[in-house]
């Protein structure tokens, strides 16, 4: 099986204008930095991007936004990116804001072969508009559909040639779920090893979900809010 690619450029060869892409990460933590840089370099446009946040003005998804490569964003919180909020308020960018748990679980449902889920998040709010509801045990739930995407770009800590992935600390977040939901899942990793070098007990994403993998480089791992205590 040939899943290993040389770099982001090789792995993203067929991403095209108008595609829907999922991007892992929470804030700037666990974002696929190499894939994002490659998209910026390629200039692929009219993208629909599904990701929890929108990065900051000059890093992460913010870079795609600056170059106006996005047609639509599906996210749960875009507050760290002032340019984003501005484009949203001015109507330049189509934005769909959805509850964070709903975002995560809709990706998971896709990877679990379930077409839809019921969730209480958003009942009684504008999120519920136009959606079917159903009552279970006297409580109201919204029907939300699984979503997949043309591409899921995820970041992991370690991966092997079969696509098995292990994530680190809170850089895990949406990555495992989006990995399950991509029609084509591309993983960038900090360490790429031979099959057998990862303990099967410790694998977070089994390789069956991963189509392409490459060894990433030059991770900046920017910290959004460096916060320390005095001893």
């Amino acid at each position: 099986m040939k899943k290993v690619y040389e770099n982001a450029e090789a792995a993203l060869y067929d991403i095209a204008d108008g595609n829907t892409i999922m991007l892992g990460g929470f804030g700037l933590c666990g974002i696929p930095e190499n894939c994002i840089a490659e998209l910026v370099k390629k200039g692929t446009k009219d993208l629909t991007c599904i990701s929890n946040n929108a990065g900051v003005d000059d890093f992460g998804i913010g870079l795609l936004l600056k170059k106006k490569q996005l047609r639509k964003m599906v996210a749960s919180y875009v507050g760290e990116n002032a340019e984003f909020e501005r484009q949203l308020l001015s109507g330049e960018l189509d934005v769909e804001l959805i509850p964070q748990g709903t975002l995560a679980t809709r990706c998971m449902a896709s990877g679990y072969g379930m077409p839809a889920i019921f969730t209480p998040a958003g009942v009684g709010t504008e999120v519920a508009e136009g959606k079917e509801t159903r009552e279970f045990h006297g409580k109201e739930y919204l029907l939300e559909y699984a979503f997949d995407s043309d591409f899921a770009l995820v970041k992991a800590w370690k991966g092997d040639r079969y696509g098995n992935l292990i994530y680190k600390e809170t850089a895990r977040n949406f990555n495992p779920l989006m990995a399950m939901a991509g029609k084509i899942t591309i993983a960038e990793v900090e360490e790429l090893v031979e099959p057998g070098q990862l303990n099967p007990n410790e694998i977070h994403t089994p390789g069956i979900y991963v189509h392409r993998i490459f060894l990433g480089e030059h991770y900046e791992k920017r910290i959004e809010q460096k916060t320390v205590r005095t001893s």
């Binding site: 929470f26 804030g27 700037l28 933590c29 666990g30 929890n52 996210a75 749960s76 919180y77 875009v78 507050g79 760290e80 909020e85 949203l88 308020l89 804001l97 959805i98 509850p99 964070q100 748990g101 709903t102 975002l103 995560a104 679980t105 990706c107 998971m108 969730t119 209480p120 998040a121 958003g122 009942v123 009684g124 709010t125 504008e126 999120v127 800590w157 994530y167 680190k168 600390e169 809170t170 850089a171 895990r172 977040n173 949406f174 990555n175 495992p176 779920l177 977070h204 791992k221 920017r222 910290i223 959004e224 809010q225 460096k226 916060t227 320390v228 205590r229 001893s231």
Partner: protein
């Protein structure tokens, strides 16, 4: 009236040993600084961590280890990492004992508006809708009035809702109030604050059916 730290300190008195707790960004995060002596509370961070520890020392920050507010943090013995679906799974399944979050408005029926000011501030709801739709016990930490001096405790919320009929208790700079099926009910007042002042600044229905004690900040 209370400052942010004192509001947090009063809320911390609601913590019980063994509680799993989610603290929202803003004033709620300060509750972690006032966990009573001898009580073990496990803090859940919605981005995938149980057992959130204190901020790191200078030079020990780890970019892969942050909280829901994107601040660098540490872990504690017994911490566990998991993905975002499991995080909201445990929240929706009612495993989290207490949720503390801020708000812009709360109604006398327990509705909460905390995420959007149309045309001005649309940052997104993040995890708030999941939390308020599922949490067993929700405490709102907020100022009693907004910067324009208008009451934030209303008959009906005007701003877009985060959730309906979900808030149980509110701690403001002036009072501790519970939400009952008959409206807001005053439980405690901040030191030096009169019941009349609280009534004057509460637009929604406020029930005062007992002698209202001052909040007690003594360490028991």
């Amino acid at each position: 009236m209370l400052d942010k730290n004192q509001i947090a300190q009063r809320i911390a008195k609601e913590l019980k040993d063994g509680y799993y707790v989610n603290l929202g960004i803003g004033i709620p995060t300060l509750v972690a600084n006032y966990i009573p002596e001898g009580i073990n509370v496990i803090l859940q961070s919605e981005n995938g961590l149980l057992g959130m520890g204190p901020f790191p020392l200078e030079g020990e920050e780890d970019a892969d280890l942050i909280n829901a507010g994107k601040q660098t943090i540490t872990t504690l013995p017994g911490s566990a990492f998991f993905d975002s679906a499991m995080s909201f799974g445990m929240i929706r399944a009612g495993k989290v004992d207490l949720t503390v979050l801020g708000a812009m408005e709360v109604s006398e029926t327990g509705d909460i508006a905390s995420w959007k000011i149309p045309g001005k501030m649309v940052k997104g709801m993040g995890g708030a809708m999941d939390l308020v739709a599922s949490a067993k016990n929700i405490i709102v930490a907020m100022m009693h009035t907004n910067p324009k001096g208008q009451s934030k405790l209303l008959t009906k919320c005007v701003l877009p809702l985060t959730g309906i009929k979900c808030v149980k208790k509110i701690v403001t700079d002036l009072a501790v109030i519970e939400v009952t099926d008959k409206g807001f009910r005053l439980l405690e007042r901040a030191p030096g604050i009169s019941v009349d002042e609280i009534k004057g600044k509460t637009e929604g229905k406020l029930i005062v059916d007992m002698d209202i004690p001052e909040m007690d900040f003594s360490v028991s």
